[in-house]
């Protein structure tokens, strides 16, 4: 087995988890799986608990999520989502699934976590790595308070109203700040997309 050489072979590894997922899909590679587990396990547990799951349930969801990662790695498409987003989505789905079971809702037995998280393509003419890079860069520079708002909304799954109550920031402000962050990222992606064209077209000055 050449498991150990897998990561060294690549001259420039952008996101080691993309390769790890490929290795799981192609060779059922346990080392890659362990690497993903060690990295994401504690993070997922933290996410699940911060969004209201008890410890035992959180660990159960981590286990089930990792199981899906193992069996569904061939569904992962690096063009559609970064590995962390893909794994996050699986965990979120699993959490909903477990919650639903616990409520004994009158639904047929749907294993919603098997739904591959389909995330839309942005326009094709922008490099995917570039796109993820833009999002990362923007979020890295975001003031802590604002990142905190996003975290409360997306990770802790608090409603805008709840966030307003906790932070004592007016509801309208919360809404606009969250929306603005997303809008800004989109603008940047759009701008980046336009850049290659500038060489060919005459530029109009505003």
């Amino acid at each position: 087995m050449d498991n150990t050489s897998i990561f060294k072979m690549k001259t420039k590894v952008k996101n080691p988890f993309i390769d790890a997922l490929k290795q799981i899909a192609a060779h059922q590679d346990k080392d890659s799986f362990k690497m993903i587990f060690d990295y994401f396990g504690p993070r997922l547990k933290s996410f699940l608990m911060s969004s209201g799951a008890e410890e035992s349930i959180a660990e159960e969801v981590v286990q089930e999520t990792m199981c899906v990662v193992w069996t569904k790695a061939d569904y992962y498409d690096p063009k559609m989502a970064s590995p962390s987003t893909w794994i996050y989505t699986i965990a979120r789905n699993k959490k909903i699934d477990i919650f639903r079971k616990s409520r004994k809702a009158v639904l047929e037995n749907i294993d919603i976590a098997i739904l591959p998280p389909i995330i839309p393509h942005l326009e094709e003419d922008i490099e995917h790595d570039q796109k993820f890079e833009i999002i990362n860069q923007y979020l890295n520079k975001l003031p802590k308070e604002q990142l905190g708002l996003l975290k409360m909304n997306f990770i802790e799954e608090k409603s805008h109203r709840e966030i307003a109550e906790i932070t004592k920031i007016p509801l309208g402000t919360i809404k606009s700040r969250i929306r603005l962050a997303i809008e800004k990222i989109r603008e940047r992606i759009e701008k980046d997309k336009e850049r290659p064209d500038l060489n060919n077209k005459t530029r109009s000055i505003n």
Partner: protein, 201 residues
């Protein structure tokens, strides 16, 4: 556990919208990526040792699963549906209710919150005048339909509420297949605007 703001029906609908919209719903993409980013930056929780062991045990017994789920229904109708929906339908029977010009299959229904239905309008057929309980989001999966407000092509999504009084007609040649996500009264006050924003963005 607090109740998640997402339901199975809503999630599935969103995923279908995302998969169907040709231009790409970039806002939804960004939202997801933000979550992924935040997951990487989150403070670590200590995971019990036995979780890894349990995971290993469960993956060794879950291999059979894989093959079962790979089976797709060999029906051109299903093959044209978004992948997420195919997966969802792969191990269940779709019960169609027949009306004169339209067939409706209820995929998910939860009396207290929301409902997801597959709607098949025959070529040239029309959906009888109907009222929407709450809001209805309709995603065109195949073909097109029109009403007095406009013509709606594959991949587009419309939001209708009680104020919309319309009689949709399926395209004379292709008819129309669509996915309808209806959100009941319960969501009206709080979540209503949130969901609307979500979908129309």
């Amino acid at each position: 556990m607090t109740q998640p703001s997402v339901t199975v029906a809503r999630l599935l609908f969103q995923q279908c919208v995302a998969a169907s919209s040709k231009k790409g719903n970039s806002l939804e993409f960004i939202r997801n990526e933000i979550s992924g980013y935040l997951l990487e930056k989150i403070e670590l929780a200590k995971l019990n040792q036995n979780v890894w062991t349990k995971t290993l045990i469960s993956i060794s017994s879950s291999k059979k699963d894989k093959k079962v789920k790979k089976e797709m229904i060999p029906d051109p109708f299903y093959n044209n549906l978004p992948l997420v929906l195919q997966e969802f339908l792969s191990n269940k029977k779709v019960k169609w209710k027949n009306f004169s010009d339209v067939k409706i299959a209820e995929l998910i229904s939860s009396y207290e919150t929301d409902k997801l239905e597959l709607i098949h309008v025959m070529p040239g057929g029309s959906i009888p005048q109907h009222t929407h309980e709450g809001i209805e989001n309709f995603l065109v999966l195949h073909g097109s339909y029109s009403d007095k407000y406009g013509i709606y092509m594959e991949g587009s999504m419309q939001t209708r509420d009680e104020d919309h009084d319309h009689k949709p007609i399926g395209h004379p040649l292709t008819g129309c297949i669509g996915l309808a996500y209806t959100n009941g009264k319960i969501k009206f006050s709080g979540k209503f605007s949130k969901i609307l924003n979500f979908f129309t963005n």
